[in-house]
């Protein structure tokens, strides 16, 4: 099970990198960054998975004794929660820049922004 998720995560990372490098539309490049982010989150969560463990929510009596051997790791999940929020902020910022660029040139094609190209 954890092999399926970790393989999917790495494939999504590569797909995001491919999208960042080859797409021409700014929105699609931003989607590529988002994919890259999501892939890393999936890899982190699947590394935290412990065989036979349940989610770290102690809503049953029997989970309260010997807790450490019955749950999956809560720390990477908390880290991923932080990472998702940061990713959301970065995506919102990139979209704002894309809107601003579109206001300037009326185009989202990356080829039409040559001001900094030598």
């Amino acid at each position: 099970m954890e092999y399926i998720t970790i393989t999917t995560g790495f494939l999504i990372i590569l797909a995001g990198l491919w999208a960042i490098m080859t797409r021409k539309n700014l929105i699609r490049i931003i989607i590529g960054f988002s994919l890259f982010d999501t892939g890393i989150h999936i890899v982190m969560v699947s590394m935290a998975f412990v065989k036979g463990g349940v989610a770290p929510i102690l809503d049953k009596k029997e989970l309260l004794t010997d807790t450490a051997h019955k749950i999956v790791d809560p720390v990477p999940q908390a880290l991923v929660l932080t990472a998702i929020v940061i990713g959301l902020g970065v995506t919102a910022l990139m979209l704002a820049y894309a809107m601003r660029l579109h206001q300037e040139k009326k185009s989202l094609d990356i080829e039409s922004f040559k001001d900094l190209k030598w």
């Binding site: 990198l17 989610a55 770290p56 309260l64 450490a68 932080t82 704002a96």
Partner: protein, 229 residues
């Protein structure tokens, strides 16, 4: 030529990631830090049913404070970049079905968001998730009633007050001598009930309000600069 370069970079990336992948054999137990968090005396000390929330709000509370700051910074930069209010847009009239459904759904979605952040210490969820759900109700409002007045002032003051209360509660723990962001400043209550885990539900509710207000402000900025071309 360009395709070859792309392929080369992808291959280089794969060769960097492959050792990580091949050395992964599935973890068999918790790390030492997590074992400390999941030990019986520490569970009783924090008294939160959801261990992830305990890690996010109490043990790693300072990280969450930084995270909230980053979100605030994002909202500030977006407000700086997209400040030009555009002329009136010509909008297609929304259908009656959409408007009625939105009127029915917006209060229910907002209530779900509030439920998610109030129960953050008992069930999966918490301030960030609840805030995002509330912002989704706001975006539905923007789509259904585009000409409605959006009170910028209200959302901005809600956000500032929530942020101040969060920092104030955190500092209160330090003043009492328990530590910055300690949750024992309020009575811990009975394990697994709504009023348990000390200050965690209070802090997470304010985080939820702050995140919801902030995302709504960002969405309004995105909406207000759009113009017809």
């Amino acid at each position: 030529m360009k395709k070859l370069l792309v392929l080369f970079i992808l291959a280089a990336f794969v060769s960097v990631l492959y050792p990580l992948y091949s050395s992964f054999h599935g973890s068999t137990g918790l790390t030492e830090v997590s074992q400390f968090y999941a030990s019986k005396e520490n569970i009783e000390k924090v008294n939160s049913q959801n261990l992830v929330t305990a890690v996010v709000v109490t043990y790693r509370g300072l990280d969450t404070l930084g995270e909230v700051t980053i979100l605030f910074l994002t909202a500030a930069i977006i407000a700086f970049f997209l400040k030009k209010e555009s002329d009136k847009r010509t909008l297609r009239k929304n259908s009656e079905i959409f408007k009625t459904a939105a009127k029915l759904l917006i209060p229910i979605i907002t209530m779900l968001g509030i439920y998610i952040f109030i129960n953050g210490h008992l069930t999966p969820g918490g301030g960030f998730q609840g805030g995002a759900v509330i912002a989704s109700a706001v975006i539905l409002m923007f789509l259904a009633f585009p000409n409605m007045e959006f009170s910028h002032k209200f959302f901005e003051s809600l956000e500032s007050v929530s942020g101040l209360v969060y920092v104030g509660l955190a500092a209160f723990g330090a003043i009492l001598g328990l530590g910055f962001l300690d949750n024992a400043i309020l009575p811990l209550g009975k394990f697994g009930e709504l009023f348990s885990a000390g200050a965690i539900p209070v802090i997470y509710s304010f985080v939820g309000l702050k995140v919801g207000a902030e995302l709504s402000n960002i969405l309004h900025k995105f909406k207000s600069v759009q113009a017809d071309n």
